[in-house]
């Protein structure tokens, strides 16, 4: 069976004054129709750059997608002209951004911004497009949708603006919705509203979702599949259960150990990941996580481990993944390094 989206060996670099930033270093994943996946990582992990590369939105220069294929419905998106990509973006793949304050144009009405894409992609008349926009706004829970089309972004609250961003993204029935940290700028109770909304919309409309986040909590109850990124590599990928419960990469393990459990009375000391985030200017030859890893052995400093299967549909890029998968745990040495 063929996949809806297939990303193969994607490599994206930025050519800056300081040197070459190795942002994405050959990542591969697939997404099936109606499937939801999360890409989890910290700042600089390459999670956003990887999806911007898929969307053809990498600013060039300084950025460049150097290698790889992005196959959507049998076509390689990386080979399309900018004009052809314009008809893919918004129609087949749509995106919701982190900051609802800045992703909307402040001087245009919501209606004007929404109908532009609808007219282009669905070939509707102005009135039909307005009607469609109003329908989408009520679908995402904006009251008095028809009147509010004439309002400007500042007349809406942060949560409402993110709802508008979602309405806009879904207005042309995309098969894939990419959400880039859509709730990071929002308060928890508003975040819960948005997550609830996206779950409902997915049931109703059936689109596939790629949800980018740094928060392991947000996606635990939301997606089926998780890819964990570090220094431009996918270091672990599998079902949400596999990655959270049968964790097989020391970095994923470290992320889970370093956050306190809100539902636990027990107060055990947090186990931080020592050291600093990776320097992306260096070409990765060793395991990029080795300098911060308590599981590291000599081999980790010599060769970067490939992403290999450790169980069906569960992969990890670590020389000791099998041991960790089977339950190997190493405690932080006393007098932990800061």
């Amino acid at each position: 069976m063929s996949h809806l989206l297939e990303v193969k060996n994607l490599v994206t670099r930025f050519y800056t004054e300081d040197g070459i930033v190795h942002a994405v270093n050959g990542i591969s994943y697939t997404l099936d129709e109606g499937e939801s996946m999360a890409i989890v990582g910290e700042s600089g992990s390459g999670k956003s750059v990887s999806v911007l590369s898929v969307m053809g939105l990498i600013p060039s220069p300084p950025g460049k997608v150097e290698a790889g294929e992005v196959i959507l419905n049998g076509r390689d998106l990386l080979k399309l002209s900018p004009e052809e990509m314009r008809h893919i973006r918004g129609k087949e793949i749509a995106m919701v951004f982190q900051d609802p304050m800045t992703s909307l144009n402040p001087v245009l009405t919501i209606g004007r911004q929404m109908t532009e894409g609808i007219e282009l992609h669905l070939g509707l008349s102005k009135e039909e497009a307005s009607q469609r926009a109003a329908e989408m706004l009520s679908l995402v829970g904006i009251p008095n949708a028809e009147d509010r089309l004439n309002d400007y972004p500042h007349q809406f609250s942060g949560g409402q603006r993110q709802r508008i961003g979602i309405a806009m993204a879904l207005s042309c029935n995309p098969t894939i919705l990419i959400a880039d940290e859509p709730t990071t700028a929002l308060d928890v109770t508003i975040q819960a509203q948005i997550i609830d909304l996206v779950k409902k919309l997915k049931e109703q409309l059936g689109m596939a979702i790629i949800w980018i986040t740094h928060d392991l909590g947000v996606v635990a109850g939301l997606v089926e599949k998780v890819a964990v990124m570090y220094a431009g590599f996918i270091v672990e990928m599998g079902s949400v259960h596999d990655v959270y419960k049968d964790t097989s990469h020391p970095y994923t393990l470290g992320l889970l150990e370093s956050i306190p459990k809100i539902d636990s009375k027990e107060k055990r000391r947090l186990i931080p990941i020592p050291g600093l985030p990776p320097d992306l200017l260096k070409e990765p030859t060793q395991c990029p996580f080795a300098p911060r890893c308590r599981y590291a052995i000599d081999k980790c400093w010599e060769e970067n481990p490939p992403l290999v299967a450790i169980a069906p549909n569960h992969t990890a890029a670590c020389w000791r993944a099998e041991e960790i998968h089977e339950g190997l745990r190493i405690d932080l040495p006393a007098g932990e390094p800061a």
């Binding site: 909590g217 306190p260 809100i262």
Partner: protein, 348 residues
């Protein structure tokens, strides 16, 4: 530890402290005027903090949580008199801060310091790390050049940085390291009370635990008292002894952390806690979320009586008419205060 001794000695120097309360806040108010028109006439006020009272005991960490705009940061800044309060009193030991002259206040400030959220914005990029950390020592006229340098190196070591970094500039450091520099600066004058305003929100997940562990170690070693302000409720439960929950300028619930987190008695706290995602797919699948409708009302025009009634599914007539009193549902040793007319309903 030499620092530990000095800190304890200093605490004893604050005279007349009753029980073991270090900071007492009474009916604190901070309104920001809204001005309009050519004459900048005041047409209203944002009631950022509206009648907040609590105590912080010596050696404890009080967590202050709430969503953006609830007034938690303004509360912290107003306690330290970085904002002039509109009303109410703040006692530090037995000194009342709100009517002090600026020179008295400067003396008192030695004992209370602040750690800021954004380690990128709160350090002057043109100053070396050494100058940044020794600045408070110069302002308070502590020591001479040589002893200050020694103190800076000691502080760098204390926060887990290499003393050799003294001549470097902030841009040479990562976010987590900058926050350590901010902490070293706050500790320079040997304070007994620290207001930490979202000290880890700007940091990556893997770095947050490093900074939180550091704050805990320093508290132990130096005998510090913290007001820890944050919106990350998991981290607040972890670091705090007691927790206060704010909504629209008021504290709605306050008590021992396990009381507040395991038996929340205010519908807002209940919704807030249920909204936090748990990084465990099995638990998430079983959880029921309370989804609050709508947005937080404007603090310039807050709802009358109980401020939460516009979003509360339990609200009845009394909630729209009478301001709920703060009542203790816990014991004397393990307090649990809540401002809700219907709290009995949740206290089974």
């Amino acid at each position: 530890m030499s620092e530990a001794k000095t800190a304890t000695a200093q605490n004893e120097l604050i005279p007349g402290t009753t029980k073991d309360v270090l900071v007492r806040v009474q009916n604190l108010k901070k309104y920001f005027p809204i001005r309009r028109g050519v004459l900048r006439r005041q047409v209203g006020a944002v009631q950022a903090v509206d009648g907040v009272s609590f105590e912080i005991r010596r050696g404890e960490t009080l967590g202050l949580v709430g969503e953006s705009g609830c007034g938690k940061s303004t509360t912290g800044r107003t306690i330290l008199q970085l904002e002039k309060p509109t009303g109410g009193q703040v006692f530090f030991g037995d000194q009342e801060l709100t009517n002090m002259s600026s020179s008295e206040l400067r003396k008192a400030r030695r004992h209370m310091q602040m750690i800021f959220q954004d380690p990128y914005a709160s350090l002057n990029p043109r100053m070396t790390v050494g100058n940044i950390i020794s600045e408070p020592l110069e302002i308070h006229n502590i020591g001479n050049a040589a002893s200050r340098k020694e103190r800076v190196q000691e502080l760098l070591r204390l926060v887990g940085l290499n003393p050799y970094f003294i001549n470097r500039y902030p841009h040479e450091f990562s976010g987590g390291q900058r926050q350590r520099i901010g902490i070293a600066r706050a500790l320079a004058t040997n304070p007994s009370f620290i207001v930490a305003d979202e000290p880890i929100s700007a940091l990556d997940v893997s770095i947050q635990a490093q900074v939180v562990n550091l704050l805990e170690d320093l508290k132990q070693e130096l005998g510090l008292t913290y007001l820890f302000i944050a919106h990350d409720l998991s981290m607040v439960r972890y670091i705090s002894d007691r927790v206060a929950v704010m909504y629209l300028g008021r504290i709605v619930e306050m008590g021992h952390r396990d009381e507040v987190y395991d038996h929340p008695l205010h519908p807002y706290t209940q919704a807030l806690l249920s909204a936090i995602p748990i990084p465990d797919p099995d638990k998430e699948a079983r959880r029921k979320r309370i989804i609050l409708e709508g947005d937080v009302p404007s603090p310039a025009n807050p709802p009358a009586a109980c401020r939460f009634h516009t979003r509360c599914s339990y609200a009845t007539d009394i909630c729209r008419e009478v301001d709920p009193e703060f009542r203790n549902f816990g014991t004397d040793s393990r307090e649990h205060w809540v401002a809700c007319h219907h709290a009995e309903k949740f206290n089974d």
